[in-house]
Symmetry: none
Subunit: 209 residues, 4 copies
């Protein structure tokens, strides 16, 4: 029985691996060629699997790309949520959130590039979910800001939703500076400085009176 369980485990793992393999390949191709340029064939070739297997794991192209977002976003969301839930002063939480984002970029810049450049773009169908995923983070952060206001850690007159969108706007654009090549993405120190400046500027902006 242990053996059988193990076998099933292996099989399961194998299945997950395959799916994961294709997903990774999709991220790769997607980040290189963008949404439109990404052909299923390229993904299959990149993953070194047969053409039709992609359709074994994903209903269609849209769902595949959807999953790319969902997966990448889910990981990010989880980490961000952990920072949001941290029982600390709002400044520490904001620092944490920015840190999570920059760390993600350092670890897998291509995945972040996809998330940054393609979120909100797509044929009608998918946009809902992606927009939804994005909204989710915004609203979670907005709640965090609202609570902070009630604890007196933040000026009451600020609109929490705007605080949230501006935070992620600052992060996004901070990273975009590297993604677009306006600053050198291989310069670790520059990335660190950018992170610092995003955090400090944002915090001063929302807290200083």
């Amino acid at each position: 029985m242990a053996v059988k369980a193990k076998k099933q485990g292996v099989r399961r793992a194998s299945v997950d691996d395959r799916r994961e393999l294709i997903l990774r390949a999709a991220v790769e191709v997607f980040s290189r060629k963008g949404y439109t340029g990404c052909r299923i064939q390229d993904v299959a070739k990149e993953a070194q699997v047969a053409y039709g297997l992609v359709y074994h794991y994903f209903k269609n192209k849209d769902e595949l790309l959807e999953s790319v977002f969902a997966t990448g976003w889910k990981g990010f969301l989880k980490l961000v949520q952990a920072e949001i839930d941290r029982e600390e002063h709002i400044t520490a939480r904001v620092r944490g959130i920015v840190g999570v984002a920059f760390e993600a970029y350092r670890r897998d810049p291509r995945a972040v590039k996809v998330l940054i450049l393609e979120v909100g773009r797509s044929p009608a169908g998918g946009s809902v979910n992606r927009g939804g995923a994005f909204s989710q983070v915004i609203l979670a952060a907005a709640n965090m800001f609202k609570a902070a206001q009630q604890r007196g850690e933040l000026p009451a007159q600020l609109e929490p939703v705007l605080c949230a969108t501006m935070l992620f706007g600052a992060i996004e654009m901070g990273l975009t500076t590297f993604v677009m090549g306006l600053l050198d993405k291989r310069d670790e120190a520059a990335i660190a400085r950018a992170q610092e400046q995003v955090v400090e500027t944002y915090l001063r902006g929302v807290t200083a009176r």
Copy 2:
């Protein structure tokens, strides 16, 4: 000859009208369906001109979309540049730039939506030019910040390029809040408050020490 000249004048005007007509139609369709979903046929139908006429005025689809950006961006850029060139304290200029962006949104939300959702996000081909257009504004603003630092209006330790990207990030996300429906886009007062908050937060962030 006068008659002929007049005729030519009329014709030219007519030509420009046609071009303009198609361009406007492209913005319309583009904002509705996004880059990928925008078919030449849709544009022609929207402009109520014949299919092939689009190819008289634009070499191909890419050039058409390129022109959409160029035109929309050119107008925006001109106004932003005017604010950048204004001989005033950096805070006034920043206020001006944010004002220009929000005003543009109030006047033509669809065009702004296109600019926001599609700029810098595109299949390989056009990215250069569009990215270029975007970079242009960033770099112009970066220069403005650098000069402001030299005049002592801004802390010297800030990276000017990041100041610029963060400014536009804040603006973009401020507007995105409405584009994505997180805040009510028909609520004029909310838009005004958002503008105010974006400006104030940003300025406090970069100036407060």
Copy 3:
């Protein structure tokens, strides 16, 4: 103006020709390969037009095949209707209808083969219309039989709808005998005898008491 009208006429005619050309080609391929085996490419090749042109005139494969039915059926329907409307004894009308069907077979056996072998078969969508077209004839004939009953030309206890379906069933099977090769389709005399037998048997069946 006359010239212009002529030109337009020519253009129209040309357009109709193209459509017609493709339609004929579709009948040809369809009768050879059946519904499933009929590839758009084959139709295009048969019509000697470009692949995409088929989609210029027909929305998709289904609509093309739909049109094949509609066209073929329309012609048949018109002739049958003429017989139905003839102001004569029911026996003469029935004779006329059978004559129309057999004549159509003599003239274009392939088209009749398509009509006979493919009616009622197809992906869900199309079947409705084809079934509808078929129902139309049945119901028209049923009305004819009902009127005949009221004129006392036919026993009152017969169900008119059944009279109609049985008539066309007799015709269909009479022709099927040749389509399936149970009787020699090149034997003109055999066809004539079959027509005779279908008519006589059917009429005796419904009239004799």
Copy 4:
């Protein structure tokens, strides 16, 4: 050994059950989606067996469908043959054949629908066998009619093959009236009347002089 035999017996029965199960599922799906729309996967799902198991019992899709016909047809054929072989007047035999067909419809309308809508109508591949199955009944009936003519029960000038095709045409169309919804398939009395009319009309048609 007894045990083994028993086991084999059980296995055989089980095997037959499995085969039968798949066959039934095929009829089901086939009647719902038609020849083209019937995917192996659908059949497997309907039978609640694994995808590949279908290929243990049937060489390929064609053979599966072939078997559907063969099985359904075999049962029908057997009953029809029994009526054909009955040592009675031709009218009684015809009555019997019609009765068999209508009874089959009452018992399993879906299977009859498949037989009616798909027999003799198919892509090249399978047509031979299916057409063959159909021809078989026709020819058997034709022989019956020929013998009846020799016994003087039927006019000699009738073509026996045509008598046979017309009989099955009348039956087919009588049932088609319900299959196509021209008459209410839930109205038992209507079905009975239809059967009556088909028999009487046909018999009067072929016998009355």
